[in-house]
Subunit: 165 residues, 2 copies
Amino acid sequence: MADVLPIGPLTRAAFAPFGEVLETDGAERRIINEGTTERFHALACAEAERGGKVIINLFRGQPRPFPYEIAMMERHPLGSQAFFPIDNRPWLVVVAKDEDGRPGLPQAFLAGGRQGVNFHANVWHHPLIAIDEVSDFLVVDREGEGDNLEEADYPSVFRIERDNW
Amino acid sequence: MADVLPIGPLTRAAFAPFGEVLETDGAERRIINEGTTERFHALACAEAERGGKVIINLFRGQPRPFPYEIAMMERHPLGSQAFFPIDNRPWLVVVAKDEDGRPGLPQAFLAGGRQGVNFHANVWHHPLIAIDEVSDFLVVDREGEGDNLEEADYPSVFRIERDNW
């Protein structure tokens, strides 16, 4: 029987080892455009090593079936990768610390519909996990020379139960 | 009486002199994550000159009153600036070609709620124009040394009429 993963709320403090949470709460706030706009400033900084460029993309994720089995992780050694939902729908973020070049125990977070994340370069994370419906995300990551994708299978899977959050 | 600006639909072709339209329609589409995700790839590339960094922000725009008067424009010489709405609500994009270091005639576009734009570096544009309600946007732009803001007033204003789109 697969280990069932606990799922916690996505907070800046809990996510700090992996990257930034993109949200207005707790952000540096600047008033600009003659008072008509609030700028929640520099929630994250994009990384693009070895001469890569920072690109802006849209991702459209199919909803995952639940219970969902976490069987692998991936990471991008040469650049950060940010996801921000544009459908105002909760989604799941699953990351892991590195253990001698392999992903450790997965840590799962429920992100709110107004919460994005920026995975730092080389942080193990599971591919996009949308919930219930097809969901679109704005994604900021790297394009350029070099191998920017590493994948690793777990020896045994971890399970995410529906509504275990 | 101020000149009333025509407002056109936001299309890649019409916007090409100013930057990119961020939308899935017409984008390069890659299937990733074992078929569970569509990646609409490299809709735009962020520019950050003179050692600047690419940063990710959230902007919260107050709705503008209509009729709205376009009295000035701004530009960022050292970096691009991308806006993507996260409330699925239409908004206005106003840009101008440069004429001897000053903004020329404003061109206004109605952007759909699933359309963003990336202003190229040094492109004259009006500050964020939200419509009807407070609207949030994900913004990708530059932080770093150097003066990255130039503003210019028009000698006389241009008018945007409500529902002239």
